[in-house]
Symmetry: C2
Subunit: 107 residues, 2 copies
């Protein structure tokens, strides 16, 4: 299985609209990507803090999509990329760190 | 729910022993932390690449623990911190980015 991680760095002065992200953007993303048979799930998280007590989290938000394969993710994502990426300015001005991962342990 | 993310930055010349991590360190971690009733699961991943074709992933590996609450995680982790942190040099010389997250969407 493949996990696609979208990490939003926690930068001073940046903007991240959690209500829009959780109530509008993510339901749209799940609706579009979740229609693919290779879709296996999603996790969306808000950064609370770092390992040192009182420290800020490295990422203000994280989103992880789970798919059977990278090919499945790309097949699901590419036709919807304009809609999904075009919606990003509605909730953030942060350039996310995106990476593809092979799932080694899941449970 | 709370997710604890342990992200290992992909630095030139750094060392990460996946066989040891997956076959020895993670089973020990899951054995020690999974004994707590607030434990809800774990995901371990190997970074394959970034969003740009052919680019390297920002993180060589990621580990995410799921717990009912931060208090549950700390109660599970603190007594085992010496054993778990003491085992790290056996698989890597990378200082991980660690952060606590509130799970907003899971499915």
């Amino acid at each position: 299985m493949i996990r696609i991680s979208i990490l939003y760095p926690n930068r001073d002065g940046s903007r991240f609209d959690f209500p829009y992200y959780v109530e509008t953007h993510m339901p749209m993303s799940i609706g579009l990507l979740g229609a693919h048979p290779g879709y296996r799930g999603v996790s969306v998280e808000r950064g609370l803090g770092g390992a040192e007590p009182g420290s800020r989290p490295a990422y203000v938000a994280m989103c992880h999509f789970l798919f059977d394969s990278l090919e499945d993710f790309l097949a699901a994502f590419m036709p919807n990329a304009p809609a999904l990426q075009g919606d990003m300015p509605n909730y953030t001005d942060i350039e996310p760190v995106i990476q593809f991962n092979e799932v080694l342990i899941s449970g």
